[in-house]
């Protein structure tokens, strides 16, 4: 599963990033590395960017980059939210 498949409100853990070195380093800058937990905040329509919560900060990602980030969904995320 990749990040762009996550629905709003769902949480997941990054498992791998399959992207060239440059994009990967920009992701490292923002704390997006394997092991990081993320939550989907908003999905902009018409293939627009995604807004993610990473730790306590927000990160906007283009769809292409987002589909290169593999994740593992956290199943009990709905309960976490409350």
């Amino acid at each position: 599963m990749v990040i762009s498949q996550l629905a709003v409100g769902e949480k997941a853990k990054i498992t791998n990033i399959s992207r060239g070195q440059e994009a990967r380093r920009r992701l490292v800058d923002l704390g997006l590395i394997p092991g990081t937990e993320v939550e989907m905040i908003a999905v902009h329509p018409w293939g627009g960017p995604l807004l993610l919560k990473v730790g306590r900060s927000h990160v906007a990602l283009g769809r292409n980059v987002a589909s290169a980030i593999q994740i593992e969904k956290k199943e009990n995320c709905k309960n976490d939210k409350l």
Partner: protein
């Protein structure tokens, strides 16, 4: 390279973007800050002197950077400053509410083995968010002093001053896992063999250099080139590390991993990066406590609404509209005021000097009016209002949200979302729009937007007078509009090809919403205005003297004698063609020339389209020159010369006689 600082102790402020570095800089040093561009970059570096307890300090505010991997201009500049300046103390500004992510940079800074203070800024916001930080514990873990402050509430600043005066203990570099440490040690001995003069060479310390080489960033390219033997050592060490990490398929092509089929599937983040991130998270976990159940702060509640796609778009478009309206209001408002003030002087000069004196004085008087009155009535208010409003967008956290919301739309034109702001401003006056392109980071994108602004986008003044021309001669407004659209699309396509796809992909932090600090915005505006009197004003005066001389020696009349040529090529009389050249001075002067000529509807259509798509006016040219540099400006000017000629030729062929 940096300005020195005889005998003063040098302090470097280092931190991520949006962490409140410049606000702290302002607080420490007051308003006497100097902006300097680091050679060859567009990144601003701020410097100022500070007195504390009778000691003199020189403070350098480095550009905001997330890490020290030298992938972006900001990172390279920051790294260069840290390496090349004899720094006595690093102030590492971190965000108390996001400590784990900020500690990555802290750990990298510790590698430099310099005295360092970790400043936990925005401690008030952390409190609001229910976060408590055990700064004693944090200080023990990092081995350096930690000072919590809030610049906004002026909290903890006395402690910080004390720490600045006393802290001179060097930070201890972080320890990696044994495997990585072995690689580092091996590389260090190799470095010592190949670069014996490392300490004098003003480069990284050995350890930092070794770590950097293992992480292989662009800056190290030149080191690798200079010391050829190093590369194979680094490669084999990286290979060892990757193998040990559970990637046995790695086939020794670690450097080309972007192209490697094996690595495309399973590429490790460089081991050092990964371990550093983990260490940062462990330290943060040990010293930060966060409440689980708490109410959202008011700012968070607004954020929750604005960060929804539809609501956000409506809100941001409204804010955008108000901003553009505000700038236009400021310009039209002050233009009247300044003209009213300058008019008597202008008239007196006209009557007493221009009439009685010879050519030289006539030139100087006209040049004074164009070169001094114009900057004060148009450029100055435009600059001030644009700086204040862009400052508000930057400091409130709305700007990244705008580019996120508009990303889809502008991507069609291969432009980032931020490009909308200069375009909208351009319809008011293009001079402030050129300045507003500063919010775009990629030089190629800036060039494209400035080119479009200079050539295609009509300002309010020229639009109004062109409407007058269309009405008077019954010109074909559809033909004019379509040619403008065609040129816009063609230029975006043609110039946008060079913009790389990767740079178009959005990977951007969206900072929390904040109430902007007015003092901070005003001092930022003041700083950026400093160029007006030293650069814009003299340049504009000089340029208008030159143009007046051209007018005085009847260059335009010569053009008017070109009737046969212009009529066959473009289907317009020579005087109308001269009007196109006049746009160099002021875009709205050109349609005024047309108004005074006896033109047919067809002639007016072609002339109007050519005028609309020609040179940038004087203020725009000067600002573009200042913002982009001579080479890029010349390119724009060349395109601006070619476009009206091509448009005129094509329209002359297409339009029925």
């Amino acid at each position: 390279m940096m300005k020195h600082s005889d005998g003063k102790e040098i302090i470097a402020l280092v931190g991520q973007p949006n962490v409140g570095k410049s606000a702290l800089m302002n607080y420490l040093t007051g308003i006497k800050t100097v902006v300097s561009n680091y050679p060859g970059t567009t990144v601003e570096v701020l410097e100022a002197d500070m007195r504390l307890a009778d000691r003199c300090f020189h403070v350098i505010d480095t550009p905001g950077t997330y890490t020290l991997h030298s992938d972006t201009e900001e990172q390279r500049v920051t790294q260069q400053i840290l390496m090349e300046t004899p720094i006595d103390l690093i102030l590492n500004i971190t965000d108390a509410a996001n400590l784990d992510r900020h500690l990555y940079l802290t750990l990298q800074l510790l590698d430099f083995n310099l005295p360092i203070i970790v400043v936990l800024n925005q401690i008030d916001r952390a409190r609001e968010l229910g976060i408590t930080i055990d700064s004693k514990r944090l200080s023990e873990e990092l081995g350096v002093p930690v000072v919590p402050i809030s610049v906004m509430l002026e909290e903890g600043l006395e402690d910080l001053r004390q720490a600045i005066l006393t802290q001179r203990e060097r930070g201890k570099p972080m320890c990696f896992s044994p495997r990585v440490e072995t690689a580092i040690t091996e590389l260090r001995s190799n470095i010592r063999l190949r670069i014996p003069d490392i300490d004098q060479a003003n480069m990284h310390t050995e350890r930092t250099l070794a770590i950097h080489l293992l992480e292989h960033d662009q800056l190290d390219e030149y080191i690798v080139k200079r010391y050829p033997g190093l590369e194979s050592v680094v490669e084999s060490l990286q290979h060892e590390m990757a193998k040990g990490y559970g990637y046995p398929d790695c086939n020794d092509c670690f450097r080309e991993c972007a192209l490697c089929p094996v690595m495309e599937q399973q590429h490790p983040i460089f081991l050092t990066c990964l371990e550093r991130t983990e260490r940062a998270r462990t330290i943060a976990r040990q010293s930060v406590k966060a409440e689980d159940h708490r109410r959202n702060t008011p700012a968070e509640k607004i954020e929750n609404i604005i960060d929804r796609p539809l609501a956000g778009m409506l809100f941001l478009l409204l804010a955008l509209y108000l901003s553009v309206k505000g700038v236009i209001l400021a310009i039209t408002g002050t233009e009247e005021l300044v003209t009213a003030l300058m008019n008597p002087i202008e008239e007196w000069l006209q009557n007493n000097i221009a009439l009685s004196a010879g050519g030289f004085w006539r030139i100087m008087v006209r040049a004074f009016i164009d070169g001094i009155v114009l900057p004060f009535s148009v450029v100055l208010p435009a600059m001030i209002s644009v700086y204040i409003i862009t400052g508000l967008w930057e400091d409130s956290g709305l700007l990244p949200r705008l580019s996120m919301v508009l990303d889809r739309l502008t991507r069609l034109l291969r432009l980032p979302g931020q490009a909308v702001i200069p375009f909208l401003l351009g319809f008011g006056c293009r001079a402030p729009a050129v300045l507003a392109t500063r919010i775009m980071s990629e030089p190629q994108e800036r060039f494209l937007v400035v080119a479009l602004l200079s050539i295609v986008v009509p300002c309010a003044a020229s639009l109004g007078i062109m409407a007058g021309v269309v009405a008077k001669f019954d010109a074909n407004i559809l033909a004019i509009g379509l040619s403008m659209l065609a040129v816009f699309l063609f230029l975006t396509y043609f110039l946008g090809r060079k913009i790389e796809d990767a740079s178009l992909e959005l990977v951007m932090e969206v900072p929390p919403l904040r109430l902007p600090n007015l003092k901070n915005i005003l001092s930022k505006t003041w700083l950026r205005m400093s160029g007006f009197f030293s650069q814009v004003l003299p340049l504009m005066f000089f340029a208008s003297v030159c143009i007046r001389i051209l007018l005085e020696i009847n260059v335009l009349q010569v053009l008017a004698g070109l009737n046969p040529v212009t009529l066959t090529l473009f289907g317009i009389p020579g005087e109308a063609f001269a009007g196109v050249a006049i746009t160099v001075v002021q875009k709205y002067l050109a349609p005024m020339v047309l108004l005074n000529l006896p033109l047919t509807a067809r002639e007016a259509t072609i002339a109007c389209a050519m005028v609309a798509l020609s040179f940038p006016c004087l203020p725009v040219s000067i600002l573009a020159l200042r913002e982009l540099g001579g080479k890029k400006f010349l390119q724009i000017f060349a395109i601006a010369a070619a476009v009206p000629i091509i448009v005129g030729l094509i329209l002359n062929l297409l339009l029925p006689v």
